[in-house]
């Protein structure tokens, strides 16, 4: 059986949207349970950390440029640079290093 690409896309979009919108619409009140609130407080930090490392090492043409960008990004963020600056400067570190590395 051959499947219709538009039905595939419809299924992808519907399932993905439900996953995102159900918690936002069903959880209307502030959660009182302390453990659950602590859990949700820690979720973003853990998930973003987990997604960043070690995935960043495979994102560029060279592990070394990625490592340098990671260190530069951590230092820039630590010293209070803005989101935009940290992001763009990390890219620049990779671009400049790879002129020599690759």
């Amino acid at each position: 059986m051959t499947h219709n690409t538009y039905i595939y896309i419809l299924i992808m979009a519907s399932v993905t949207y439900l996953i995102r919108v159900l918690p936002l619409t069903l959880i209307r009140k502030e959660i009182k349970n302390k453990t659950l609130r602590s859990f949700l407080y820690y979720v973003p930090y853990v998930t973003l950390a987990v997604m960043t490392f070690p995935a960043i090492l495979d994102a560029t043409n060279s592990t070394w440029s990625a490592m340098a960008a990671l260190i530069a990004g951590i230092l820039l963020a630590w010293f209070g640079r803005s989101l935009f600056q940290v992001s763009v400067l990390s890219c620049l570190v990779v671009f400049i290093l790879e002129l020599f590395l690759c």
Binding site: T2, H3, I9, I11, M12, A13, V15, T16, Y17, I19, R20, V21, L22, P23, L24, T25, I27, R28, K29, T35, L36, S38, F39, L40, Y41, Y42, V43, P44, Y45, V46, L48, A49, V50, M51, T52, F53, P54, A55, A59, T60, S62, A69, L70, G73, I74, L76, A77, W78, G80, L83, F84, V86, S87, S90, C91, V93, V94, F95, L99, C102
Partner: protein, 239 residues
């Protein structure tokens, strides 16, 4: 009030610029994957416009190429995108309880790693207009990039794509690192999470897990342990 909403929207648009640029590069490669799966440029763009999910779309294109069943597609979407469920739960606590339903529906359309990342970094409660501004700039980058990926293939030089690829990670760091300066628990939690993630990627017993699944397991396990060991004080819930 109106003034505040406008300025939040504009701030969101500004913070959406690096996201949009990063998306352009990432979705470009996504477009190439879509083309390989046999989708037209229009179909690929439609997928990106309605899904806004990198790993989920990659997985979807793979299944389309394999002529998988519709049920398999639905299950794959749940697995590949389950982390958005956690993010949306987290966001539900970040917005005011009085946030209108329509705003919740709109935010729900584009809870991505990046939009979530900057939305959660706003001090105090999140004004949905900030997220709307970011979405307004970021979403076109994602779908246009996918379209261009299909029609133009490898037009960007490899070193430009390479450099742009770390932009998204730089953004994540800008979200999680600054609060770690003030909060000792986070200062330990973040490197521990990275170390655990590194172990998961190297140990062969976890090799069968998809990357989305690894992210879910690690997030739930580590955040739960942290919640038990270090319950937050009342004044931290807005951070």
């Amino acid at each position: 009030m109106h003034q505040t909403n406008t300025s939040w929207f504009l701030k969101g648009m500004k913070d959406g610029i690096p996201i949009s640029l990063g998306y352009l590069a990432v979705s470009f490669t996504l477009g190439i994957a879509a083309k390989n799966a046999g989708l037209t440029a229009f179909q690929a763009m439609l997928t990106s416009l309605t899904n806004n999910a990198s790993a989920g779309e990659f997985a979807g294109f793979t299944l389309i190429a394999a002529n998988a069943s519709y049920l398999e597609m639905a299950i794959m979407m749940i697995v590949a995108n389950a982390r958005y469920l956690l993010m949306s739960c987290s966001l539900s606590q970040k917005i005011s309880p009085s946030t209108p339903l329509i705003h919740r529906f709109l935010i729900g359309f584009d809870v991505t790693d990046e939009i979530f990342g900057i939305s959660i970094s706003v001090p105090g409660k999140l004004t949905p207009y900030y997220t709307f501004g970011a979405i307004a700039v970021a979403m076109p980058g994602w779908s246009i990039g996918t379209y261009l990926g299909v029609v133009m293939g490898n037009i960007l030089p490899s070193n430009v794509v390479s450099a742009l690829s770390v932009g998204l990670y730089g953004m994540f760091l800008a979200v999680i690192i600054p609060p770690a300066r003030k909060n000792k628990v986070l200062a330990i939690l973040i490197p521990s999470s990275m170390a655990a993630s590194f172990l998961f990627s190297k140990l062969s017993i976890f090799a069968a897990l998809s990357s989305g699944m690894k992210i879910i397991i690690l997030t739930v396990a580590i955040a739960f342990i942290a919640a038990i060991l270090f319950p937050i004080k009342e004044d931290e819930h807005d951070a």
